[in-house]
């Protein structure tokens, strides 16, 4: 998000706050943020955070509500964490534990009716990176009745999705030249968020089997999603549903027929690249979506939501072209 703000015509990075890094220069921690290298990291308590027009939180789950509650109601608070994404307190209790902190408008403007909820909002919950890709990939199919609400997702993610804490299995030596699965069998915490988003699209219960895999790249998610085809649905009908859903969207691109998404084409951009296919033999609809987990998957989505909430042009400061090859 700091990278995006460096080129944003209307928003300015006015301060950076953190706990353990307070007092250090941003350039030591994030050497690529050359224009902000001398900025000193400040403490992250609520008092230190007062006085901003926009506050973006990226905290371990369970910690956003306490801070947000101490910020003025008119301050735009955007939470990149999970705390305010789920509607169902029981789902929160099962997947994260403890008491749910309440639901905020969900920052995925491309879902039907969602953009309106974000205009003028002062509290916004940015979606998880996997749910962004999966929900945008399958919502049109379920909304249009192309497929049964029984979705299988295998997603490949770059390693930045696991954050910056140093764990042995995330070392370069371990991840380069290697693909691995993790969180298999329905235990990844992004699952209930997908179920919620796709359930709204389907207008009913949805099953999601979700398997994340780690691939040797820094950024990017490729989500391969499929569901049993409803009778009579062919490739033309499928394509038409996606064209209708996303034809006017600035950030979601249904690729030309025959072209399949690659994460390279969205690297650093706030875009989603999508393609849809019908497998008549296997009786399944298959949708593949690519996003940059740190742009449209988090930091770019936060900027997009801020733009909407503040009445700026939605695309302001958001790259449309990936850094490829």
């Amino acid at each position: 998000m700091c990278r995006l703000l460096a080129g944003h015509p209307n928003l300015r990075l006015a301060g950076v706050h953190a706990n353990s890094s307070a007092g250090r220069r941003l350039g030591e921690l994030q050497p690529h943020l050359l224009p902000f290298a001398g900025m000193e990291v400040q403490p992250s308590d609520a008092a230190s955070l007062s006085g901003y027009d926009v506050v973006v939180l990226a905290l371990p789950h369970g910690e956003s509500a306490a801070i947000a509650g101490q910020l003025p109601a008119e301050t735009l608070v955007i939470d990149c964490g999970a705390d305010h994404r789920l509607n169902d307190p029981a789902a929160w209790a099962r997947w994260y534990g403890g008491v749910h902190a309440g639901t905020w408008p969900y920052g995925l403007p491309e879902l039907p009716g969602q953009r309106e909820q974000l205009a003028g909002a002062t509290r916004i919950a940015v979606p998880g990176c996997y749910p962004t890709s999966v929900t945008l990939a399958m919502a049109p199919a379920l909304a249009a009745g192309l497929a049964e609400p029984d979705v299988v997702v295998v997603a490949a993610s770059g390693t930045s999705g696991a954050g910056k804490s140093a764990k042995p299995h995330l070392l370069g030596s371990e991840v380069m030249g290697a693909v691995s699965a993790y969180g298999v069998g329905g235990v990844h915490r992004h699952t209930p968020e997908m179920i919620q988003g796709l359930g709204q699209a389907a207008g009913g219960d949805v099953r999601v089997s979700f398997t994340p895999t780690l691939v040797p790249m820094s950024r990017g998610i490729l989500a391969t999603c499929s569901a049993p085809l409803r009778p009579g649905v062919d490739a033309e009908a499928a394509r038409a549903a996606y064209e209708k859903a996303y034809g006017d969207e600035p950030f979601v691109h249904l690729l030309p027929e025959g072209q399949w998404p690659t994460t390279a084409q969205v690297l650093g951009a706030n875009t989603v690249a999508l393609q849809v296919a019908v497998d008549a033999d296997a009786h399944r609809l298959v949708v593949v979506a690519a996003v940059d987990n740190l742009t449209k998957g988090t930091g770019g989505a936060a900027v997009q939501c801020a733009n909407l909430a503040l009445g700026l042009p939605e695309t302001s400061g958001l790259p449309l072209v990936g850094v490829a090859p």
Copy 2:
């Protein structure tokens, strides 16, 4: 396979044959084959191929039969191509076109009853790399009735699976930092081979939805497979079925509980690493398998089959440990 033969105690690389490269030194074409660098590539017609005890073919599909037909019946001929893998001439005609050249014993000794067919055989069809991983992953589940015969596979493959011909989308600049899907919607030619192998395990018709993806590494396949769980099947039953199927296999390893496969652990080795999970919410059985597409996925499988056919120890000359980290 040349790499493996350099360390094989019973087999010796006696000659290399090719069309367009005939007359060149092997060291020019494959600089890593240092001990064979001075070996001259010879023509690949049947006459030039006579006089060997074992001939291994790796040709475009449709070309193996003509050459194999001119080699003595007692010569062991191992085909790494697709020509003799499928049982059904109609499947051949649909997926490859033309007239089927006949079926050879299928070189996947870990399938029930298959090892016996390979002992003493003189014609062997090595499986495709994707079918090796998928068939070994799902056959025990279907044979034991753990899951419905309606399999969804998303497989991540290193780029060596696409061969050595120079195509723009396989350039390093395009594939590094990028994951992409291809052959989506049930159009990959390895699909009928999976259907055949899994159908034999299930004892009936099987549906397979197969989506291959290309990931930024040279070698390796990680196949994530799932199917609807049959009633009453739990994690214990699933694990027991896999332990029974592979407990005595030297090359197929069911990992300890909680550990998930990574392609790094099988790099350069003739092994398969497997894990199985039950997703009770999504009602699916999930199995993940890792293989090195150029070892257990092709060249190592060819050596394993040669060992069996010639009455050598099955593990002779075959690495059990991947080159990791």
Copy 3:
């Protein structure tokens, strides 16, 4: 460059021209250029190129002059090729062959006096990617007399530096997991350009030993340069010379002491990250520079030069922050 123009406030991508790709859609050739996907590639003859305010050429060497000669004198022509970089016709004849097409203002504004030559220019030669990194790395040292004019450079480049033509040794399978040397022994064509730039800084003859290596990443150059230390030069003097040279430059960043450049911090940005050290035991000055070969190394440099030539703010439309991690 197309990527950068998509976000440039003053310049607009008005057309794309090529020979063999004429008639195709840009989206087929460069799928990441989503906003320009439908733009049709036009022919690249001089007649088709008329009518633009700015024309950027990226042609095989020897082909720029013929086209540029047919464009109006007042059109800004920026050549990304080598044709007009060298001052010495003999150097041209030795390294490229044939007759030199004449010298254009050299598009490296950070060299002393160079920015003034580019303001209002209508013909500009963009430097090669390696010479950009090496010249910016060593020019201050030679100009300030910190080191002898006997420079040793080993540079690591991502594979996009080799272009988009499909050659077997550039396949992903060959380059991933591999570092290799090429053009060793003083035969790389960027050498005379380095000698020229550094000779101007040194005010006399300079020797350059240049070894390029190919590393497994798409973009980026890390140039490690060194030269024999002049007597009495210490770390403080060295740092002072670089601070003086680049303290006011928007795109060249001398890193804080103790921090060394990484190509990740300049990925997609028009910046150069530099650091300098004195090795008293080996009697050498060592300078390391990182650039993105496709941004500051080519496309970004072209935009920067266009900004200067057209009287726009020099930093207009040019990212300052790399896409990291």
Copy 4:
């Protein structure tokens, strides 16, 4: 080394010892060591280490001597650490601090006269990974008087060279897509070891300017070395010196003219690939060498030394072919 022992005909991995990991299964820590997955890690005190024929140490520097001193004199002890590599106690004190523990025979059999010292030895110091590549690259040039003893080295290393401890800058997200320099300015601890080895070859003092860089791959070192050419030395003389030095060596390969080393060709193998060039313009001899830092750079060297010390065939159990492409 465990990987290599799995396929060694004469040596057997009889036990694994460590401090913090004692009591865990090897398969948890190193999942690729499938055949040893159930082996329990034992404590690493000297008492626990008694009873082996061969003990291989890989400890932080300064800790080997205490343990080795408690092992019987007739036990073969191979130290992969730095403790016993340097001859000069003053060099030890400067670079590592404290009192030097004494010098052991240096485990680089390819140096003149060194093989004889290792036959029957019971204490051996395995060289560092960088010194192996640099010493083998430049020793013949200095011994034959091809170049001045003023060597410049820039080496690219895969990240496994930095070990398995989890540090933020070694995370996959940081190293993928990135090349960086570290230890610049003559501060890397492998420098005195290079000076020692090359000094013995030169028969006098040698200067070494050494800059290591980190590249996005797991394993491998490519060392680009150069030195000022002595008068009258041409390419033929240079090649002849290297052919003479390494013509009979099983593990060091001077590549055919025109071919340059790549780390891929030695991946997992105990080999070194070398090439030499003369740059008449820059008056320098350039030598490039590729090794696998974890095989010929450490674990393979330990096996090679054990073979020699125990009177086994020197090549026993050591792969000659890299795992490429």
